[in-house]
Symmetry: C2
Subunit: 144 residues, 2 copies
């Protein structure tokens, strides 16, 4: 399968908080932009909050970014929303036969390679910030 859409939604939320920073961003408003249920937004917002990326308070409408735009990388978001559960992008078959030389060593042979590949992907995400996304979106807008 693929990486949870929570990641894309998390990026959407943070971008929206910036673009729409002069208004009150309630979970219902955000949900309308993402096109999903407000509870989904609140759950993701809770994860972003726990990671220190947004400021939200119980009972009071609206959320805002906790950091500067260019200090929030997509990797931060990715980790915040637990985009890859248990931090393992690749799954490995659980119990290969220990009586076979391949079976008893395949995991230790393959795990470091998988970790390296995952790491390469995550490094790419670390090079992009929410500011880049905001810029990309405003540029698109200005074309029309």
């Amino acid at each position: 399968m693929s990486i949870s859409s929570r990641f894309a939604v998390g990026i959407h939320i943070l971008t929206l908080l910036e673009v729409n920073k002069d208004e009150v961003n309630s979970s219902e408003f955000i949900a309308a932009s993402v096109n999903t249920n407000p509870v989904v937004i609140r759950k993701i917002m809770g994860m972003l909050k726990k990671a220190g990326l947004v400021k939200v308070r119980p009972g009071v409408a609206g959320a805002e970014l906790a950091d500067k735009l260019d200090e929030i990388t997509l990797l931060d978001v990715y980790k915040a929303v637990d985009a890859v559960p248990e931090n393992e992008l690749f799954s490995v078959h659980g119990s290969p036969n220990p009586q076979c030389s391949v079976g008893r060593n395949i995991q230790s042979a393959v795990l470091p390679i998988f970790a390296g590949a995952q790491s390469a992907m995550e490094k790419a995400l670390a090079h992009v910030t929410i500011q880049d996304i905001v810029r990309s979106i405003t540029e698109q807008e200005n074309k029309n």
Copy 2:
């Protein structure tokens, strides 16, 4: 979620075909090493065959590698078994609100970045061959 274990199993199969090349590698034998059902092996084997990585014939027991060890990269296997369905590692929420400037541009902002991150991961896989895996496994064996 994570990338299908078909990928790890595919690597396991190809490695086993090499390590065990002097014997007959029936789907049942391979399944015993992987610890799964023979039908699962035959299905994956079918994908590897279609990609030109293994030679198998209907009715006749045993399979063998179609290419040299060092000419089969993990990226080849990854693609062969369709490890990432529809070639999209990251999922994006489907229908954001077109009446919102963020909603109508988030996809085009995010897709190239996701593609780049996925590509970085796949490039890492392209640098490793089945030979590397075989070597890693025999080295592990010799330690004991």
